[in-house]
């Protein structure tokens, strides 16, 4: 049984079809990323997967549960960090989590654990309205993982955050995955997707245009297949990535002339651009 199974999901808002038959799955304990620019349909899909929206057609199963008839029980297995999910601004960090600890019937000792885990224990008595955007993001992540969910859904978890907070959240996501949680995240940040995800799906105008491991996808689109060398005199040299170049590279190495050497496979941004003619950063 797969952790997440999505079959032929379509969705329309009025006349506009925003999802055009999405089929996707994730193994237990993996991080899967949905990568696409704004308006590609990422948030709509994550809302359908988590039962916040009913699709026009298609099926979603989480840990074998059909989300068409999702009950409260299923939601105890799921953690969600959505951009538009608010916190209680007047309540302290501790009280925000205490509320959910009571609802999930989680021991109050767990609150301290997750507050320390996201680095907010020192700020536990601070009202949420006084937290910075990054701290609020960490509080939302703490709330999402408080009940040790088996599935974690993150919608643009680091959008608009500073690099230090982003790094911290990435570490926390990796820790969750190492503890066996399946993580589904949406992002328009290719670096984030490359760093975190075992598999990614590139979403464009409601369709998945590519799927696989990030490096494998990049290799698949390595049409040039060249090596780019920067020599000690500043000269840039491009050689075919074939056995014929071996002698030339050997000579450079023997003469200690190579400063840097890279293969020329494209990054995800370039792949997306090649497939859709759009940038991932397009809004």
């Amino acid at each position: 049984m797969k952790a997440i199974e999505i079959e032929g999901v379509r969705h329309q808002f009025g006349e506009k079809e925003v999802l055009k038959g999405i089929t996707l799955s994730a193994e237990k304990g993996e991080i899967i990323g949905l990568l696409g620019p704004s308006g590609a349909g990422k948030t709509t899909l994550i809302k359908i997967i988590t039962g916040q929206l009913i699709p026009s057609s298609g099926n979603v199963r989480l840990e074998g549960h059909d989300m068409g008839g999702a009950s409260g029980e299923v939601y105890h297995e799921i953690g969600m960090m959505m951009d538009d999910f608010g916190v209680y601004e007047r309540l302290t960090c501790y009280d925000n989590l205490k509320l959910y600890a009571d609802i999930y019937r989680v021991h109050t000792g767990r609150i301290r654990e997750v507050l320390e885990w996201v680095g907010l224990y020192e700020d536990r008595k601070c009202p949420a309205q006084k937290l910075s955007k990054g701290m609020k993001g960490r509080l939302m992540l703490a709330r999402a993982v408080l009940h040790r969910p088996r599935l974690l859904f993150l919608d643009e978890p680091t959008s608009g955050l500073d690099p230090a907070t982003t790094r911290r959240i990435h570490d926390l996501i990796r820790q969750m995955q190492q503890d066996g949680t399946t993580v589904f995240l949406t992002t328009h940040n290719m670096t984030e997707a490359e760093k975190l995800c075992k598999h990614i799906a590139l979403l464009h105008e409601g369709s998945i245009v590519e799927y696989g491991e990030p490096k494998e996808i990049c290799r698949r689109y390595n049409h040039q297949n060249k090596l780019r060398l920067l020599l000690d005199d500043g000269t840039s040299v491009r050689l075919p990535n074939t056995r014929e170049s071996a002698e030339q590279i050997k000579e450079y190495l023997q003469n200690e002339r190579i400063e840097t050497m890279h293969s020329t496979e494209p990054d995800l941004e370039s792949v997306f651009m090649e497939l859709t003619g759009r940038s991932l950063q397009d809004s």
């Binding site: 988590t50 916040q52 409260g72 029980e73 939601y75 105890h76 799921i78 969600m80 959505m82 538009d84 999910f85 608010g86 916190v87 209680y88 601004e89 007047r90 309540l91 009280d95 509320l99 959910y100 009571d102 609802i103 999930y104 009202p127 709330r143």
Partner: protein, 231 residues
Amino acid sequence: MKNATIIYRKQIKDAGKNIALLIQFVMFPLMAVIMDNAIQVADLPEHFFVGMFAVMHIGMAPLNVTAAIIAEEKEKNTLRVLLFGGVRPFEYLIGTGGYVFSSCMIGAVIFALLGGYRGREFVLFLLIMAAGILVSMFLGAVIGICSKSQIIAASVMTPVMMIFAFLPMIAMFNETIAKVADFAYSQQIQILINGLSSRTTPEPKSLIVLGLSALIAAGMFVGAYRKSALN
């Protein structure tokens, strides 16, 4: 029902830090205390201001606070998070309603003590207040459930609140308005409270209007709840 208790406790903590809401609960009881002690007019019935402000309290506080709490939770999507956490809509409404009702009833007790009601009259006064508070809470919940944001809720609840809170007072000065006001539950609450002070038997009309208002408000609430289920 454990979740309803959790929501009740959460509302005490959260709304306890919301000055705008707290003012709603204390405003009219406080005004009644001040006016009842400060203004002595010969022809004015005893504890005149208690009855007047008690009706305003009923028409304003439960309606405003219920609508504001639900609309805020919907706007900020905190309600959605609660529902995804396994809290059922009716548990949320019972917890929130319980908080509003008990807070408003504290005001009702102040009015009762200030009005000098004792024994059976004290209990009857609280029952009349409770009935009015429940009707207002149902109306407030309907507004909160049907509003997507606090601004929309405020723009709808202000005229509704003005009508029910102030109609009984205006009716004292205008017979035509008094005839219309007879169909408002707040006006009948005013009549019942006045009857309690003068120890007259309540007219069936008051009880019928109050009962019908409760039924209509509860029906609107069930309709709104079924249509949206707080979504």
